[in-house]
């Protein structure tokens, strides 16, 4: 080091971006771009693959779900586990957009029948706390009856929660596993 030429420590230059730039695109635009791309992929690919928004129409799931309510369906729910009794599921009715919302009451291999509004699974009455409470001691204003049905290996039995409507007006029955889209995410 030559005399008279004292060494100078180089000072770190403070090159901070202006606050509005930090607010808009962050401190590092490249990182922000990567984050944005990941978020976009998650929203555009991940969301439609796992969640489906639905609009409840009709009265068959009353009193649990009412006409006009908006809910979400978890499409990954049955990827690794089969549907369980009591699950509220979305069933493909016509294409991917028109779905039925029903509750699973019968599982594959079981036998099911309905006697005066009570669902019997393998001869045992099914507890259904989601139905309307009894009024004046009458459990179901419109008691339903159904002859015994034995479910196959890929079949589930589904019914709506509104058992006060006439049996002939209520769309229920056996659904094949491949038609089940997912489970309703509870509010």
């Amino acid at each position: 080091m030559a005399p008279g030429n004292p060494s100078r420590m180089s000072q770190p230059v403070e090159n901070r971006p202006p606050w509005w730039q930090v607010m808009a695109i962050g401190r590092n635009p490249r990182t922000t771009l990567v984050r944005l791309a990941v978020t976009l992929v998650l929203v555009l690919v991940g969301f439609p693959m796992s969640i489906q928004p639905i609009l409840v129409q009709g009265i068959s799931m009353q009193p649990t779900y009412r006409d006009g309510q908006r809910r979400f369906l978890n499409k990954l729910a049955y990827r690794f586990a089969p549907p369980q009794r009591g699950d509220v599921i979305g069933i493909r009715e016509a294409g991917k957009q028109v779905l039925l919302l029903k509750r699973v009451v019968g599982l594959p291999g079981e036998s099911l029948r309905i006697v005066q509004g009570t669902v019997l699974i393998n001869g045992e009455p099914l507890e259904e706390p989601y139905l309307l409470p009894p009024t004046n001691g009458v459990r179901n204003p419109a008691p339903w009856n159904l002859q015994e049905v034995r479910l196959g290996q890929d079949e589930h039995y589904v019914i709506g929660d509104n058992r006060s409507m006439r049996q002939t007006d209520h769309y229920f029955g056996i659904v094949e596993r491949e038609r089940i889209v997912g489970r309703l995410i509870r509010p």
Binding site: I91, E93, A94, G95, V149, D169, Y171, G173, V175
Partner: protein, 179 residues
Amino acid sequence: MTMLRRRIRSVGLVALLGLLGLGLWWAIPTEEQRIRRVLEEARAAVSADGGTGSTTPPDGPGGTLAMLGRVGRLTRCLTRDVEVEVDVFGGLSGHLNGVEEVRAAAAGLVQHLPGLKVRFSEVEIRQIDPPGARATLVATIDTGAREGRAAQEFELRFRKWEGRWYISRVATVRALRSR
């Protein structure tokens, strides 16, 4: 120089053959494309927005002649022994046997629902094994009335006869069955 010319010629020949192959691929439709064309013909015949053919009938696009034309175009897509089975929960149900029954039903439908619009989506053509094939599709039906819009899944069967595909069976698909 001669070598270069030869190379250019052979590359040009290969490109020309490639273009020719591509053209043939476009010009000669596959069996699936042929079936899709029949489906589109049937849809256009039933739907009010499907056009009335190459010429406008003298009594206008909504007149009796136009209606007969649409029904005629539909029946040209069907086999003589076509079967139609409809079973919609809380809606229509019935069975039609033969092209004459379908013709009569279609005429009634077109007459009563002049604004009927039909759109097909999620068309899946499976088991193409001439002379037979199967397809499933979702038909969105708009009658033109308020709340007159519905979607219904259908299963169709096709039969090939003298190089052309015809619809031999149409049935509604129900998501839930009693047994």
